[in-house]
Symmetry: D2
Subunit: 433 residues, 4 copies
């Protein structure tokens, strides 16, 4: 279990502190890919995923494009053609390749991309040595958070890539798993009605979409003590979960039928047993673990079946308010959620799996799109997506905040996304896992 | 201009009052289709639209299926096969045809559908004469509101059908339009921060999605005095509105490119002039009229271009609180929005065009899906749609409420949907139309 | 059973003979649609099919566009907009509507289309009275043959339309069927190797694609005495016909899988029994009848399973050479194939079902595309289609010729298409049906 | 220019001769990929293309699956899972991956695939040393011809892969091209009517689809002396070739419109000049070279525009009868077609570009699908494809025969396919290039 460093109190105003943090985040990316062959790093198994190699190049491109080009005097680009090639979606920078063709970027080769990475790292260090203006440090922090987001995507995307390969290789085949324990009973934690303050409190870094901090009115609600387990999800399935339209949203049911969904992503039935594809390859399904790789559609249907609902993002934020950011994160190198512990209080709020909320991803009251290129970072995606909260077992712990808003379309499930239940009012009935 | 009858005070507990209302709503449907040939009533010009004839049958089916079959002793169905045939999407009733094949329902013929309609009407009257239980009256009221929704769809769908026909016939070709006037300058109306009560207040009918009435916290905001005009929208277009990705949400921009949008639906450029296809056929674009048949995507992009934003549905509801339900509605038989008047105060809040809000369509806190078949009416669509408020020139006035929530996917624009701007805080700068 | 009139010897040079024939063909179209409601005539149940009403208008459009407009002095078009509206695919005439939107042509209404029809008929008669030039007569004959092709399509398209309607109405519900008999054993007829002459012999009308008559070399072959029966096809199905990829062409197998084909079009299994949707509604499958509504893919797979093959179009033409054009045609008003008779010799060569051949639809050596508008009639479709021969139970008998080449893409099966087997060399083993 | 070895007379019955040939072909494959990075070998830029790496594995798989497994006693497979993984489309071997996911086969890595290759090579040599039965030699020869086909596909597919990469790298960037010369005037060579013998003459290897040799009747025709040049094709384009529907087959025109074709594949306009992407990168268009990378649709439209037509495959075979197999082939390492020479007689019959014929790909009279696994090699593709003849600049010369039939769907153009014109009858008018 990993606990977040106290970022707010860490003085990052000193350049050498920034350099240390830059090195740490950049190295973390390299560690994640060290077991991958050049072949692996070329795979794009669906349009929403990207090749590992592209992630390595694009995160480097971010520093080059947002910092070195505008702010470093006499900067000579590593290769001028990369500005367009590795642009993901920043329209202000001009045309960019359709995201579906990233798997054709065999050139530059992986070796050249590592040279590109070193080249940019060297100049970033030079720049920090000589000109660490607040604007540059602001962009540097954005770039490091950007890279941490792509660290998570490197894992989600390679997991999907390996799943698509009929041989089903594991990302970390030799990892030994810790002994498992049973999940504790689910209990409910009640919260009072009233006006609450939500959003980022302006200490330390936050994305623009977490701002401004503002008041909101919340009705009384109860929050489940832990994530929904595989065992509970199997009960839903055994009760006809995937065959009863009355449990599903209309769009959800259409999607279930069109894609013949009968279980979460990465699950397969072998005789009477279920297996689950993980970063360690295909394993028997562990009943105590939180269900993972479900879409919003499935999370919502499960909650309806369970006589409950999903929490809103503000209910989640209120519930998380008194809880320290600690849990099963990327640094634990499990790359897989773990069963809840037996402590009192809310469990698994942070780490393990992202938690789908009932909240569509929208702007906060008074939200302003940032000036400049980073204006395309978050705001333009505020449509047709649902908010997820709390981070997962592949999120870097230093990337997490209580006000952090992740978002994905309601049908996607290749992220490490799971389910926490909520209830209107003060709910006391326990459920046994 | 039509003003809503005071529904709440009208005593509908007396059966003859109900019969009167039933007859009035049912006749209104017939009046809307009296100029249409049997051929016209077969057209389904896109999957989201339905043939007129299907609307006539389905609204009748609603009364038969929800009232006569469960509640009338010894009811003999007109044709047992219609239960499946005219089911729109009620999964609890069993399989139903895919909505895309409604244009193949040549049998029953239109004549037979009118016989079906008379048959059901007669038995509904019989039932009301002998057994007007509260549950039956509740379902009857739901059925009448359901029929009014389909009255609106009859117009939107036949307008699109005639537009798709290369001959572009008009729905009401002989209607003479009133003389037009210029739209007044746009001004801003300010509202204070605080906790507000929103949702239906339980007097009279409401759909389940307007409930429960609840408290919400609203930040200070300003609301535009009238709808955005065609003239203002042309300025947006002339300023490159449809060619500048920075004005659009990401999904919106992809949609604009994929569908080569360059103007609202039904607009066509003829030399220097723009025309607009209306229920009276193709007419020159009237600059003073509110822009209509825009998607949420376009409404949102226009607002961003204008330095403003769309109101949330609760801001809209707060702003509408003190305004009477009166405006250009279906009963005015304009079938087209009209320019704003010169009165002080907020104009065009009701009627003319539905107003896209910034609010995704979600459940209110404490929302309960109704028991029984009507549970599939609203709740299951709470995903991937945006809320519209205020009704349009083809909404029956007696169907409108301040708490009424209409909803459509953000890319759709065949409804009579327009734009009202809003602003954070107290905004005073006027814009000249 | 209908026998073709001796067209070649009938003197059509006299105008009154032409007028008689014109009236006869035009009336036949009207007879085919007299039981259809205006609603029925609007249905387009798939892109390849057209509404009945469109067929009525388009065949009239053909005479107006190809004859009246270019050759009648002072001809006043019925409605100038129809030139574009009812153009099927003649690019030389300018833009035409996409074929998928024909179901939106509610205007002109059916009544107006009948007025259009009468209007054109009157002027055609006037023209024939005063100016029956050879060119006009040539175009008239083409127009009549064109109309006969659309008579066949009227039946195939309305049959598919009624099939798509969940109520499954019959086109001729009150027709009584003749008593059925068992199909005779299948025998083989042998033909010698050598140089044969094929193609139209220039007596009477032919389409350009039947020309020029030319020499071809044919290896020895045998031809089955009758069409494959439903009973034989069921044996193929029971033997895993639709589940064994080795029986199918590669494209065919992909199509079978993608569309989940398990039986011919219009077949449905009800318990142990099979039914077949016909022009008389849904009937039990008659085992003695020829299998119908199979694609080329299915015909080819069946032949491979049977240890045989399909004949080439020239083998078929050679086999048909000594046989009179007589059989179960449109005029018999069966609208359905019938079992083979017990006569000696080749049975069912003409009528009953079109026979898929092994021949891709290509130009004959020396083929010339006709000058003028009729140049778009046949030649431009010579790709990705297979030739069918012999006519069907819904082909007008006077439309048939031994050299007649029908053609459809290999996956289509809404035409009345069946299977005749052939063999290399002199084949003598009989098969029992 | 490369001339084919006299395969027929080469005694391949001696095992060491077979081993020599095996080594030669297998080494040729390795030579073709030696400049490619592991990244390059992962790219699959469209469903019809395959990653280089897959070609290397699949050709090895062919020898293992067709020879070692059935015929080598105690053969231990390199990896049992490869049987399914590298199966292209042999249904008899069981399920195989959908061809669209070959780009996800990052494991086995390229290194492992080379080990697999060596492993199989070693056992093939062992087998030949001890058991060179006729059946094994027959399959070995099939496997070598199969590998040569994939050598050609390695080039076509990597060329397309590099084209899809926005950086447009060259396959052989450092190659220097020979000086170019003008193409000679086009003349016509006449052939007499009569019965000809076509198909393979049974000396040496041939695919089953070249058999049986048989008689066919051919009408008098003329054949163009050389391939159509880029200059001639530009004239077609300048004359509105891509905008005049009357020049195109119906399916062709639909395809042109749907894909916005305005030039051959790999052509781009830069100002007034055209460039062409080649294996050496992007180069100015050489007007004397044969036009290449055109579809059948384009070849057919060009021929119609030119007042000519494409030859049938038998006309081509008759014309090629007296010509030696010699030309610009793979071994010349041009990887690009070259202008015709100035010799008398038919030029460029072999090599340079495959020549689209007017012949749909069908079975020869008396064609028998081979017994065993190789039965799926050719026969099941005999639908919806057109025959190409003569080989291209990337075909190994020892792979070519006069009776060789290549085939592709009419819209595909990533192969090195060009145009030779033909004419009915004895045609004498020359055209100047």
């Amino acid at each position: 279990m990993t606990t977040a460093p106290n970022m707010q109190s860490m003085s990052l105003s000193l350049p050498h502190k920034w350099m240390e943090r830059y090195g740490k985040v950049r190295n973390q990316t390299l560690r994640l890919v060290e077991t991958l062959a050049p072949d692996d790093q070329m795979v794009q198994s669906m349009p929403e995923a990207s090749p590992t190699k592209w992630h390595i190049a694009h995160t480097t491109w971010f520093f080059e494009t947002f910092i070195l080009k505008p702010y470093m005097r006499d900067y000579i680009p590593f290769d001028a053609r990369f500005t367009g090639l590795f642009n993901s979606y920043y329209k202000r920078l001009g045309d960019h390749p359709d995201r579906t063709i990233r798997s054709t970027f065999s050139r530059p080769t992986l070796d050249q991309i590592f040279l590109y990475r070193n080249y940019v790292d060297k100049d970033i260090r030079n720049l920090l040595d000589h000109d660490a203006s607040p604007r540059i440090l602001q962009l540097l922090e954005l770039g490091l958070n950007h890279e941490q987001q792509h660290q998570e995507l490197i894992i989600t995307d390679i997991k999907h890539a390996f799943w698509t390969n009929p041989l089903r290789p594991g990302y970390q085949p030799n990892q030994i798993r810790s002994v498992e324990w049973g999940a504790p009973s689910l209990t409910w934690h009640c919260f009072n009605e009233g006006v609450y303050e939500v959003g980022h409190d302006m200490g330390g870094f936050a994305f623009d979409n977490e701002l401004p901090r503002h008041l909101t009115y919340i009705q009384p609600f109860s929050m489940a003590s832990r994530l929904v387990t595989n065992k509970e999800y199997l009960t839903f399935m055994a009760d006809g979960g995937y065959t009863r339209p009355e449990l599903w949203l209309s769009d959800a049911w259409d999607h279930v039928c069109a894609h013949s969904w009968t279980a979460p992503l990465y699950w397969e039935q072998a005789g009477d047993e279920w297996t689950q594809f993980t970063c360690r390859g295909t394993l028997p399904l562990n009943l105590s673990e939180p269900v993972c790789h479900v879409s919003f559609y499935e999370a919502d249907a499960f909650a309806r079946w369970a006589g409950a609902r999903l929490p809103t993002e503000f209910e989640w934020e209120v519930a998380a308010d008194s809880i320290g950011i600690s849990g099963n994160f990327l640094e634990d190198e499990n790359y897989h959620p773990r069963p809840a512990g037996t402590q009192a209080g809310l469990q698994q709020i942070f780490g393990d799996t992202w938690e789908w909320t009932a909240s569509p991803y929208s702007a906060y009251p008074g939200y302003c799109v940032p000036e400049g290129i980073e204006g395309e970072y978050n705001g333009k995606f505020m449509c047709n997506q649902m908010v997820l909260r709390g981070g997962s077992c592949i999120t870097p712990v230093s990337h997490m905040r209580k006000s952090y808003r992740n978002y994905f379309p309601p049908h996607m499930r290749w992220q490490f996304s799971g389910i926490r239940l909520a209830h209107d009012g003060r709910f006391h009935v326990g459920a046994d896992s």
